[in-house]
Amino acid sequence: MTSETTDAELFRALRRTWENVDPVPVDLVDRMVAAVATADLSREYALLTLVEGEARAAVRGDADMLTLQFSDGRTNVLVHVTATESGGHRIDGWVDGAAHTVELTQDAGTLIAEVTDGRFAFDDVPSGVTSLRVGLESAVEPGGSAELRTPRFEL
């Protein structure tokens, strides 16, 4: 007979099961290495949190409007998405911090919009997984983040 299974053996089996049932995404490690390698070490980043809105509510068909609000507790970003006639999406956004540019990133590429009086817009954005990087005037808040990232959301 075998001896009774120890807690450590139980945890080892649990680990294996989680590794098999909910595996690390295939390219996650490579993406993390790339993200760390390309991080401008002189800059500060903060991940905004979705405060309000349904990030998975795809803007298509009759659901042609989507509003998302992100915040890190200091800066708020409001994003309003509407469908365009061409089947793409128009994004109107507002930032209440001292932002200069907003960069919109999808797998297909990156778009950049200037921020004027706290407002920015992207006229025609294709569907896909999207994230925004908000570049802040770093001098305004010493010690604060110079760049804010939203979690990715789906258009």
């Binding site: 807690d7 590794e19 049932v21 993406r31 949190t49 990232r149």
Partner: protein, 219 residues
């Protein structure tokens, strides 16, 4: 206030034959030791050592973050934020051997924060129940592993959410920071140890109800 300033780093564990979660390789050196080595080399100016550290611990961070029920995209964002936070706050880590505990604590804190926001926005997606197995396994091995994982997964699924989270964190972390976990789960810190045992007990009971006879080889 620094992000870690109100949390003590997790205590370091001396190498031992059998700890709670001996994540070790065939060569006997645990990944926590190697993490400390990579981190020390990176701080000494070897930029490639950070790549090694990221490769080594990203999978651990993934499982820790997923214990908080975040969907896959948000979980990945949290893992990335954890690494970028390390890059800019590494000065706050005095002792290289504390780096793994610092990373998992940071990841849990960020996951907890993001998870609360996500809960308000939408329910978490269910985990894909089909085990993903390496293709090189033989058909017999796949059948066997499938069976074992399915049985264990079924038993895990029968536990309450608090048990599931606690067991997953403990399974993947070196020496979990019980004070922080207690805060996350809204539990007194002194009850984490007993709760852990209670959760393990429930898991054993569920496995036995499913026909398990206590043999480690059947797990």
């Amino acid at each position: 206030m620094g992000i870690m300033s109100d949390v003590e780093p997790p205590p370091l564990r001396e190498p031992e034959g059998e700890g709670d979660t001996p994540l070790s390789d065939a060569d006997g050196s645990g990944i926590w030791e190697r993490a400390a080595g990579h981190f020390a080399r990176w701080r000494d100016g070897d930029t490639r050592a950070m790549d090694d550290l990221v490769r080594l611990l990203s999978p651990v961070l993934w499982h820790v973050v997923r214990a908080y029920g975040l969907d896959t995209m948000l979980a990945e964002d949290v893992v990335q934020t954890t690494w970028l936070t390390l890059v800019r706050r590494h000065d706050s880590i005095q002792e290289p051997r504390a780096v793994a505990g610092w990373l998992t604590t940071t990841a849990r804190r960020e996951a907890w924060r993001a998870g609360r926001a996500q809960q308000n926005a939408r329910p978490a997606e269910p985990v894909d129940l089909e085990p993903h197995l390496p293709p090189e396994d033989s058909a017999e091995q796949i059948a066997h592993v499938n069976d074992r994982d399915r049985r264990l997964w079924g038993a895990i699924g029968g536990l309450d959410e608090r048990c599931q989270r606690l067991l997953r964190i403990v399974a993947f972390e070196e020496r979990p920071d019980y004070a922080r976990i207690a805060a996350d789960l809204a539990m007194p810190v002194g009850s984490i140890g007993p709760t852990r045992q209670r959760c393990l007990g429930k898991l054993r009971t569920a496995l036995e109800a499913d026909g398990w006879r206590g043999d480690t080889r059947d797990l």
